[in-house]
């Protein structure tokens, strides 16, 4: 069977440093997978390679049969890969509703003339209804409906995270990558987040979680990939990862 996402021997070199070194792996439809590793392991770089942010130095990435290498982030997004950011990138001076509807509008490629006049043509109202429906659905999924009219800048940090997730959901992605969603959250908030992610997964969404917080990843992920110094050192269920000597060494610096 073919995998939803296939990472085949990818590398990324920054000057003399191999940030990601010959990593292979895959994600199947419907999986909830974790990507962990100590600081500087190459998690973010791998993630950026998948989402089209950083060009590959070697290897290939394919998503649902389509080659991802060489695509720009906006093109990758249109393939159905959606991501959130560790340091949030919401649109602070737009309302919560507008933030999410940018995702829902699913910016298709259109010429300059199309962009200028496309929004003005009759028959666009069916589309507008569709955009608005998807926006409300996404807001509802994260529980921000009551704040739709608020400026994003006025939301507290935790809610801005959910706003960013709503924006990603409004794109109706096939694959959602969450970049350290638990960073900056307290224990209660992290538990609520874990429940939320499980609910999303329960609706059939394929999710990759890039995380520092081991308890979160161990608690909800079905499978975990571990990176250290740019290499994949382990790939398996939480239980096997917990006992893997290479992982223990990378994290604790001891010979297990």
């Amino acid at each position: 069977m073919t995998h939803l996402l296939e990472i085949n021997r990818v590398s990324r070199r920054f000057g003399g440093v191999l940030a990601v070194n010959d990593v292979s792996g895959h994600v199947d439809e419907g999986e909830l997978i974790g990507l962990i590793g100590p600081n500087g392991a190459g998690k973010t770089t791998l993630f950026n390679l998948i989402s089209g942010f950083t060009p590959l130095s070697g290897g290939t990435v394919t998503f649902a049969g389509a080659t991802v290498n060489g695509l720009k982030p906006n093109q990758v997004a249109r393939l159905g890969i959606s991501r959130t950011f560790q340091n949030l990138r919401v649109f602070p001076n737009m309302s919560v509703f507008d933030n999410v509807s940018v995702g829902a509008a699913g910016m298709r490629p259109q010429g300059v003339l199309g962009a200028l006049f496309g929004g003005l043509t009759p028959g666009g109202s069916a589309r507008a209804d569709e955009i608005s429906r998807r926006t409300w659905d996404a807001l509802d999924a994260v529980g921000l409906t009551h704040l739709a009219g608020e400026l994003a800048a006025n939301l507290p940090y935790g809610q801005r995270k959910y706003l960013e997730i709503a924006r990603a959901l409004a794109m109706q992605p096939r694959f959602l990558i969450l970049d350290e969603p638990a960073a900056g959250l307290n224990d209660t908030e992290t538990r609520a987040l874990a429940d939320f992610i499980k609910r999303l997964h329960g609706r059939g969404l394929t999710i990759m979680l890039v995380e520092h917080d081991m308890t979160l990843v161990m608690g909800i992920c079905q499978r975990i990939m571990v990176l250290a110094s740019g290499r994949k050192i382990a790939d398996g269920t939480p239980d096997t990862i917990r006992r893997d000597p290479a992982v223990l060494e990378a994290y604790l610096g001891v010979d297990a």
Partner: protein, 304 residues
């Protein structure tokens, strides 16, 4: 009872302010998406006016066609300007390089270069003297409103500019293109990851902003009856002042400040010779920079 003279100056100031507002919007939109100042914006204004002049002398079409020609040339000029002076310096690799100082400085110089080339090119083609607009196209037929005497141009400028402002507001708030422009000016990288083609959005922003600048140019040309290669310089500076006063990236702020500027200048000619009225704008700029470095409305207003 207010002296009708002041009412008249107020009305003239409003139409003058509207042309500044059209110009200031171009600056503000572009500053919003790229964080750079487009120094060739004044030349877009000039090109709009010249496009009208050329069409009038070649074909003598109805006045509406003249304005549409100016809009078309403005759109084309905005597109070319972005490709020539801005795109080559843009590297969409990360947030830092996207709005980096290096990019700001290089596009500042490249847009200045385009502005000089356009101005000199027009001087070679048309000479540096003022070109007169044929009498039939002038919009200065007197109109009496109560005790005040205005000219048709005051109404036409106000009407066209107001229509364009409403159109812009519609574009920004009700269309997907506007959503994309606002998203890019809020967070370019975030916008890219939500599937927005930032390059296209930036081009559209230049096209829209330049159409407004070109409209201001042709309207002013028809109002004063004179068109010349250096005509965009002073309005460019006035619009820049309005943008700074309005808080750099607030469209409502820029429009309100442009109107304040227009009215203040028009009133000032009551007390000082008209040659000194330009000092009003510079005075406003200095006061704004010293006392309101975030603009008169602060940084809290909704941006573009």
């Amino acid at each position: 009872m207010i002296d009708p003279y002041y009412l008249q100056q107020l009305a003239i100031g409003l139409s003058l302010g509207m042309t500044y507002a059209l110009m200031a919007i171009g600056f503000t939109l572009i500053f919003g998406v790229l964080n750079v100042v487009n120094f060739a914006h004044g030349e877009i204004y000039t090109l709009g006016a010249f496009a009208g002049l050329v069409l009038i002398s070649a074909a003598a079409p109805p006045a509406v066609a003249v304005i549409f020609a100016a809009l078309a040339i403005g759109a084309l000029a905005g597109f070319s300007l972005e490709r020539l002076a801005f795109k080559p310096f843009r590297r969409f690799t990360d947030e830092a390089s996207l709005k980096s100082r290096a990019m700001r400085e290089s596009t500042l110089l490249s847009s200045l270069a385009v502005s000089i080339v356009v101005r000199e090119g027009l001087e070679i083609g048309f000479g540096s003297q003022m070109q007169s607009i044929p009498f039939a196209y002038l919009i200065n037929t007197p109109v009496r409103v109560g005790p005040v005497i205005l000219v048709t141009g005051d109404f036409i400028i106000f009407g066209v500019a107001a229509a364009m402002l409403v159109g812009l507001q519609y574009l920004l708030t009700r269309t997907r293109t506007g959503l994309a422009i606002r998203a890019v000016s809020n967070n370019p990288l975030g916008a890219k990851y939500v599937g927005i083609d930032t390059d296209r959005t930036i081009i559209v922003t230049f096209v829209v902003g330049s159409m407004m600048g070109a409209a201001a140019g042709i309207l002013t040309g028809l109002y004063y009856g004179a068109v010349f290669p250096a005509m965009g310089f002073i309005p460019g500076i006035k619009a820049f002042v309005a943008m700074v006063m309005g808080g750099l990236s607030s469209i409502p702020g820029a429009v309100i400040c442009a109107l304040i500027l227009g009215i203040a200048e028009s009133m000032a000619t009551t007390f000082v010779s008209s040659g000194w009225s330009d000092m009003v704008a510079y005075g406003f700029l200095i006061v704004t920079l010293i006392f309101f470095p975030n603009g008169l409305f602060g940084a809290r207003r909704e941006r573009v």
